[in-house]
């Protein structure tokens, strides 16, 4: 007998029965089924920093197809609820798949009687379990996620990658951002004596400066981006697209750039 299944007006992989995240399948009898071996359409860095009254996160809107800047208006920042946002770098198909699941979870929470909205810490915990589970089945979701928001009146910032490695910090970055920008963000925090001393304006300009560095130095970065701000006492807001001003006049000094 199949026991009574709950009806769903939206697709969640677990209800679908066939595309489930938690499904085990025999690879021998299912030759068309594949594991993720490499990311295809990718998103670049995500940056985030806490400030005295919340947390800000930025990500550009580029979907790269290898070295081709193919999709120039892809939203990578997801507003989960008033207190939580998340953004991902890595394979954008995997990101969109996971984001659908997250959104459906959030809908579930909202429609359930007396449901409490997903807190950023709960989302971060759940995401870690999902990513680690996929890694352990050698079929990863090829993403690095940053979860940002407010929890019990305090800013929250968490990181999860495709290996299931997860941690929380006052400033975070993925991909190239972790190499080129994390130092800059940490310096901003040190100068302010911690995030409690960092204003929203300073935090925003620090992130913008980092995005500019990335646009100059990361070949897969872009000058159009989204910004998410989650203040402790107010609802989360995702704004964009913002446009980055950059100065390429130094290019003429490059030998052979012009005749």
């Amino acid at each position: 007998f199949s026991s009574a299944m709950s009806a769903s007006f939206y697709t969640k992989p677990a209800n679908n029965g066939n595309a489930g995240v938690a499904m085990e399948t025999s690879w021998d009898s299912n030759p068309g089924r594949q594991r993720t071996l490499q990311p295809i359409t990718t998103g670049a860095s995500v940056l985030a920093i806490k400030y005295n009254a919340g947390v800000i996160m930025v990500a550009d809107t580029l979907g790269s197809y290898g070295s081709l800047a193919k999709f120039r208006s892809i939203p990578r920042v997801l507003r989960v609820n008033d207190a939580t946002v998340a953004a991902a770098s890595g394979d954008l198909a995997d990101m969109q798949f996971l984001n659908t699941v997250v959104e459906n979870h959030a809908i579930d929470e909202e429609i359930h009687e007396h449901g409490i909205a997903y807190s950023p810490a709960s989302l971060h915990s759940w995401l870690t379990r999902v990513m680690y589970n996929r890694r352990s089945r050698i079929n990863p979701l090829w993403n690095t996620y940053i979860v940002a928001g407010t929890e019990a009146g305090q800013p929250f910032l968490g990181y999860v990658n495709m290996l299931g490695v997860a941690f929380k910090e006052d400033c975070l970055a993925t991909g190239f951002g972790s190499h080129l920008c994390l130092g800059l963000l940490r310096e901003a925090l040190d100068a302010a004596g911690g995030y409690a001393g960092l204003t929203e304006e300073t935090a925003t300009s620090a992130l913008e400066a980092c995005l500019r560095v990335l646009y100059y130095r990361d070949c897969r970065a872009y000058n159009q981006y989204q910004l998410a701000n989650v203040p402790v006492a107010k609802p989360a807001q995702v704004s964009g697209p913002h446009f980055l001003q950059s100065d390429w006049s130094v290019a003429k000094l490059v030998k052979h750039y012009t005749e």
């Binding site: 007998f1 026991s3 009574a4 709950s6 359930h112 009687e113 007396h114 449901g115 409490i116 807190s119 810490a121 709960s122 971060h124 915990s125 759940w126 379990r129």
Partner: protein, 238 residues
Amino acid sequence: YDHDVIIFSPQGRIHQIEYAMEAIDSHIGVSIAGLTADGQVLSRFARDECFNHRWAYDSALTVSRLVDNLASKLQVPTQVYGKRPFGVGLLIAGFDIGIGPRVFYQCPSANYYDCKSIAIGARSQSARTYLEGKLDEIAATKTPEELIKHGLIALRNTLPNEMELSVKNCSVALVGSDIDFTVYEDSAVEPYLALIREEPSAGAADDGQPSTQSTSGDGAAGPGSSGAAEGEVRMEEA
């Protein structure tokens, strides 16, 4: 006489139908009336749900979500050929941060009810009547002791004349914002029973003399009934 559910004891009791009160998680507990084996399955399921939620989401499963999941599980054997419903009624009490105290009554039919206060079992109607009349007072209680007093008085109202609440036939559980689900049994119940000794029994047809018979367990209960002395009365922690 406890080998099989169909065997009556000489006292006319069925031992397999009993009461149990247990914690499910630190913030939720249940009181089970009915077939203990079925009750164990549901307790284990409820604990599983709570712990799985904590593992995945690093937070407590809200009482209403747990009850929803329980109800979905109970409904299956009411619709599938060859199965039988779970033979238990449950009172589920818990406290959710950000929501407050919750009390639910889960029936074998899979229906459940969100309650301000509730009493179930044989002769529980007098308890429900008392509770309904005292709803405002109960909502205005400021201390756990005041709340427990109402519960015990309601419970006492269900007793037949010759029976009396004692540490041997009564237990109390408490859960709230500053207390994990805690069960008080045996001698631990005595302080709470002492609170109601001065209160008159409402509606009882006795002369106010406490019964001199001490009963253990379910003395006056008939087979298959949930004796009120061990019936649980659950109330909101105000």
